[in-house]
Symmetry: C2
Subunit: 103 residues, 2 copies
């Protein structure tokens, strides 16, 4: 069962949900930027500079989180997002490389 914040375990990650999450260009951009960044980087949702409303931004990060692509952690007054790199690489080998090399 996903945790309280909606993060699935690696076994719960589903290829269909991952593909659906990555079909959107804004969500793919978030994952691509995280892929290309240093290993354990954490960013705020706003830092990606997506040109969308706040509620759409929240929606995009929920889709990414529920597919298992990113982890979101609350630090009191800020919330940071990071790529679930090792888990994704183990569960779906080669997927992140496809996203990272896409222009």
């Amino acid at each position: 069962m996903p945790d309280l914040e909606g993060h699935p375990s690696p076994e719960e990650m589903a290829l269909g949900a991952v593909f659906a999450a990555l079909a959107d260009p804004n969500r793919r951009r978030v994952v691509r930027e995280l892929c290309r960044a240093p290993e354990a980087v954490e960013r705020t949702c706003a830092s990606f500079g997506l040109d969308v409303t706040k509620s759409t931004l929240t929606h995009h990060f929920r889709v990414l989180r529920e597919a298992g692509l990113v982890r979101q952690v609350d630090y009191g007054n800020s919330r940071k997002v990071s790529l679930r790199r090792a888990e994704l690489e183990h569960r779906f080998p080669g997927l992140l490389a496809l996203v990272a090399r896409d222009s």
Copy 2:
């Protein structure tokens, strides 16, 4: 420009369209079965036994074709579908392996 039947060239294939096509379980099943079949197998659309109406079946194969995942060829009174395996492997290395190994 895609050909008259809507097949994109490898350079025209877009990761977003490919992910969107593969987000659907019926379309993923078609690609998975073609992945696991011998190299140059050609099948009819009906042979996959998808439990959908004829117009939905047509829609699914159009999405697969326009994303570049399959090629459809008319043989007079029948139309066959095949996987664009080599082109996909070159354009999106590792993608088909992800679909093939998914249960």
